[in-house]
């Protein structure tokens, strides 16, 4: 059973670090969202057949799904339930920006079956938020958490970022402590990455400060890799203490609250991604929808597929195996030998023998635990050096 992702490619305003496809609503025509919803409905009708047994989980992401006004949100959620009905226990997540969550929206979303909410807090410091072009404030974040809880969300994720321009260790610790004070069921901690063609990249690429941000916020100083590593290591330790399990490189959950939807990706399950820029992967074929909303809608209305020819890939067995490894090794549990053998008809210990041999001898980078092969958590923050051996 594949999982379902629905992309909402709108934001109030794009954040400076974001490389994803999204329209800023400030300078978009008024009918944009209805054009989007119209196209999306055609695509859902078309794609329904790819999930004959239904979908294993739902994730509505973006962009910022919560920028839609209530009537549009309602239309979207009802549409999803119509084409992909889900049982009560199925995880259904929506993500959103704290600045766009009203009491009414929170209630509406909850009442339409969404049972998990992922909130992009990033930081509880307004100067740092402003430095990366986030539209919300720390106060709004606190409000949003309260509203979501009041609306009945019992499974809440908070996204936090470390390595923000000007962020000191102390500021990072303060944000994480505040987040913990709201007892979220789940936390995602992301180190800031400079992605090409983003404003932040233009501003900071190639400039390593050499100087660490300390004391007063100096947004011209970007924390270096060493400081990011310290922030990460501290957080890993702190969250363990607080009873969270680090089940993936950047994800932490109270037992039983691991994100099922994302676990699907990391374990190599199939997925359907709808909406402009949505990516699907079924039976080793991966494709991506075109990103531009009007073009997406036009193709669908003409009865054509909205896929972007350049984004179509037929994955080789080798590539599938590589992905299974690089995604699976992000997980605490690791990669399951048996599932690997069932899916690919080969023992991963044979396929990657030389790599495993090499890394076994060096201070145990890779560990075998029962039916699983996993990365020594000590090396999670330098995992690329090991993961690249599998591609």
């Amino acid at each position: 059973m594949p999982s379902l992702y629905v992309h909402v490619p709108f934001c109030f305003q794009k954040c400076d670090y974001c490389a994803f496809y999204s329209h800023s609503l400030i300078d978009s025509p008024k009918d944009f969202i209805s054009v989007y919803l119209e196209g999306l409905e055609i695509e859902m009708a078309k794609m329904q057949k790819d999930a004959p047994q239904g979908v294993s989980s739902l994730f509505i992401g973006g962009g910022t799904p919560t920028v839609l006004k209530e009537t549009d949100l309602e239309r979207l959620l009802k549409m999803i339930q119509r084409y992909f009905p889900m049982d009560l226990g199925v995880e259904q997540t929506m993500e959103g920006n704290p600045g766009t969550i009203t009491e009414e929206k929170a209630k509406l979303i909850r009442s339409q079956g969404i049972n998990r909410f992922s909130l992009g807090i990033q930081s509880f410091n307004d100067q740092l938020l402003n430095a990366v072009g986030r539209i919300h404030t720390a106060k709004q974040a606190r409000e949003a958490i309260r509203r979501l809880r009041e609306a009945g969300f019992k499974n809440l994720n908070l996204d936090l970022m470390f390595g923000l321009p000007g962020q000191t260790m102390e500021l990072w610790q303060a944000s994480l402590e505040e987040a913990l004070s709201y007892s979220p069921e789940h936390l995602s901690l992301y180190g800031l990455m400079l992605e090409e063609e983003t404003p932040l990249y233009e501003r900071y690429a190639g400039k390593t400060s050499g100087e660490r941000p300390t004391g007063a916020v100096q947004v011209d100083l970007l924390p270096d890799g060493d400081l990011q590593a310290e922030m990460y290591e501290w957080a890993v330790m702190r969250l363990r203490e607080a009873g969270y399990r680090q089940y993936e490189t950047s994800n932490f959950a109270r037992p039983g609250y691991e994100c099922q939807h994302n676990l699907g990706y990391w374990r190599g399950a199939d997925y359907i991604g709808l909406g402009p820029g949505g990516v699907s992967c079924l039976n080793r074929v991966r494709w991506k929808n075109i990103e531009e909303v009007h073009a997406y809608d036009n193709l669908l209305r003409k009865g054509q597929s909205p896929l972007d020819e350049l984004g179509k890939e037929v994955l080789s067995l080798r590539e599938c195996m590589a992905e299974r490894m690089i995604l699976g090794l992000r997980l605490e549990e690791g990669v399951n030998f048996k599932t690997f053998e069932k899916d690919f008809g080969a023992d991963l210990r044979d396929i990657y023998r030389s790599v495993l041999e090499r890394y076994k001898n060096e201070d145990v980078f890779i560990i075998v635990k029962g039916d699983y092969l996993c990365l020594n958590p000590k090396y999670a923050f330098v995992a690329n050096s090991i993961l690249q051996e599998f591609v």
Binding site: F20, Y265, G277, R286, E362, Q388
Partner: protein, 601 residues
């Protein structure tokens, strides 16, 4: 036939790099119609891409021009091109020996350079008639009068008749051709005497075998002649003779005075050594032409494939290059750090760089080159004298009685304001002053004895940077001298990397050992663990640096829409790593092995 040879003129062009030799040659070819303008690919004589890019001639070539002079007669002008670099002095001397005259081309702005001067001496040694050409007079900064004066003062030639030319615009070309006809003596030599042909170059052709480029000094050669190499005594049957017009054209026979090529199904260019004399086995000359010597490599380095599986491809490629270049020598060697590779010998640094670049470019090899070394003569306790061309083969200190290193006699020409800078440089490079001479009011000729290893190190770069590029250098090996030398080894993560070892004068050892580890710390990227870098002499650590462990190398997120991109990102990272060499547990970038050359004293 004695009359026919009256219409032959054999000449070459002497010029410093960039003084316009190749452009001038092109003009001469164009003017005499050996090639139509449409056929002319710019700079015909520099036929390798690399030569065109670097603006230098590496392998020399020859071309025959037919020119109808003002006297109405049609002359056969043979232009023998010469390589313009100190690494190839011997080749230059052989092509000059094949001529009766030479054009001395001097840039009207730059004046005479050390290289030009050295080649002029070679020409005078060979009794060549010199015709002075002052080139690039189209440039606004041209100073032909000053350059004329320099030619008179420095070389002692009468420059009053010097031709003012611009190879670029074509000014003076006809005058040059007329002057060649008038001034360069026709070749002497008897067609009826036993064959003597001087090999001034050779080239390998997949169909014809090794082709000898020759000047027939005496006698004649035709298809079917049984030819004999006078140095080795080897004989071959001539299959073809021909001339360069400018592409190879087969003719009936080559006679005394002519320049052309001889094919004899020779499998290896080693059998057609530059400077050797070809004679007729059935009617041999009693004495070879003078001046032959075997090409002797002066600079050695290790060449290793980054991927061990490329070893055979590297060997095949070296063999192919060797077919055309007998002066390149190589033999298998093994390094503990780098695995299987070759120790290669070159005429000089440029020669080394060229071979390296051709291997990487033309043969698509990913190589590690170790820092170049010279040959040290080491006397051991047992009384043996070892020739050490690889520092890691140096016996341990307790086995060594003495070490001698090669010394060169260096001539430096420099504007007088830089004399102080040059003296300082030579002092730093352990030079011994021999002589100084004002060649003109503003230019000085300095003669120093210098260890070749210092020249190989970074002398040339220093010379250029300290004189804003105005100094020029020429040198020749003068002998060996005992010096106080030590070997520095480098340990990475506690393990010795033999390919990083180098030999240095004791007085400089601490400084270079320290700077090398500093440099290596900058070159070696952070890895999963901390890497200590140490330089040691014997068992004594003289410097230490540490490459800190990598702390962050992670994809912070990876979800469904992003998986392909992240996989490709890792693939790219992996490809970048592939260009590094894994030595023990440490990954070392290729340039680390040359790092010792990038440090300054």
């Amino acid at each position: 036939m004695a009359q026919a040879s009256q219409l032959i003129r054999n000449f070459s062009i002497i010029a410093h790099i960039d003084h316009g030799k190749s452009t001038l040659a092109d003009r001469l070819i164009e003017y005499t119609g050996a090639l139509s303008k449409r056929e002319m690919e710019a700079q015909v004589l520099d036929s390798m891409d690399l030569e065109r890019e670097r603006g230098i001639t590496i392998k020399l070539q020859a071309v025959r021009l037919n020119y109808q002079a003002h006297d109405g007669k049609i002359y056969e002008l043979n232009l023998i091109d010469t390589p313009g670099h100190v690494d190839f002095t011997y080749e230059v001397s052989r092509s000059l020996a094949a001529c009766e005259g030479a054009l001395l081309v001097v840039d009207s702005v730059q004046g005479i350079e050390a290289q030009t001067l050295a080649n002029v001496y070679l020409a005078l040694d060979n009794n060549l008639e010199l015709i002075s050409v002052i080139n690039k007079i189209d440039l606004p900064s041209a100073e032909p009068e000053r350059v004329k004066q320099e030619i008179e003062d420095v070389i002692g030639l009468d420059a009053s008749e010097a031709i003012l030319a611009s190879a670029k615009t074509g000014v003076g070309i006809e005058e040059i051709l007329e002057r060649i006809v008038a001034m360069v003596p026709p070749p002497k030599g008897d067609d009826e005497a036993p064959l003597k042909a001087l090999i001034f170059d050779s080239k390998f052709d997949a169909y014809k075998g090794a082709i000898s480029y020759v000047r027939i000094v005496e006698g004649r050669v035709t298809k079917g002649t049984t030819m004999k190499m006078m140095s080795s005594g080897k004989t071959f049957e001539v299959t073809e003779v021909g001339v360069f017009a400018p592409s190879m054209r087969i003719v009936e026979e080559l006679r005394a005075g002519q320049v052309g090529f001889i094919c004899a199904s020779i499998k290896n260019v080693k059998d057609t050594q530059v400077g050797d004399t070809i004679t007729d086995a059935d009617n041999p000359a009693d004495k070879a032409l003078p001046g032959y010597r075997k090409a002797t490599p002066m600079v050695f380095c290790g060449l290793y494939p980054v991927e061990a599986s490329d070893y055979n491809r590297l060997r095949d490629s070296l063999e192919k290059l060797h077919l055309n270049d007998a002066s390149l020598i190589f033999e298998p060697e093994t390094s503990i750090a780098l695995g299987f590779g070759f120790r290669c010998g070159f005429l000089g640094l440029l020669h080394m760089e060229i071979i390296q670049e051709r291997l990487e470019r033309e043969y698509d090899l990913n190589l590690i080159t170790t820092a170049p070394s010279v040959i040290y003569k080491v006397t051991t306790l047992k009384g043996e004298v070892l020739n050490i061309d690889n520092p890691s083969n140096l016996p341990t200190v307790d086995q060594i009685v003495s070490i001698e290193e090669p010394i060169v006699n260096a001539t430096i020409l420099v504007p007088s304001e830089y004399v102080g800078a040059i003296m300082e440089l030579n002092q730093e490079k352990r030079g011994t002053y021999s002589a100084m001479d004002y060649v003109s009011k503003s230019r000085v000729k300095l003669i120093y004895e210098l260890p070749l290893s210092e020249i190989v190190f970074d002398y040339f770069d220093q010379l250029k940077s300290r004189t804003k590029g105005y100094a020029s250098l020429d040198y020749e090996l003068s002998g060996y001298k005992e010096t106080d030398l030590v070997k520095i080894d480098v340990l990475l993560n506690g393990e010795m990397v033999d390919a990083l070892s180098f030999i240095v004068h004791r007085a400089k050892s601490y400084n270079r050992g320290r700077k090398l580890v500093e440099k290596l710390r900058g070159i070696i990227p952070r890895q999963m663990f901390e890497i200590p870098i140490q330089s040691v002499i014997g068992n004594k650590v003289i410097a230490r640096e540490t490459v800190n462990a990598m702390r962050k190398d992670v994809l912070s997120k990876c979800y469904g829409g992003d998986i392909s991109r992240k996989r490709k990102l890792l693939e790219k990272q992996k490809a970048g790593k592939k260009r590094m060499k894994q030595v023990g547990s440490v990954e070392i970038p290729q340039d680390a092995f040359m790092a010792v050359l990038q440090i300054e004293d």
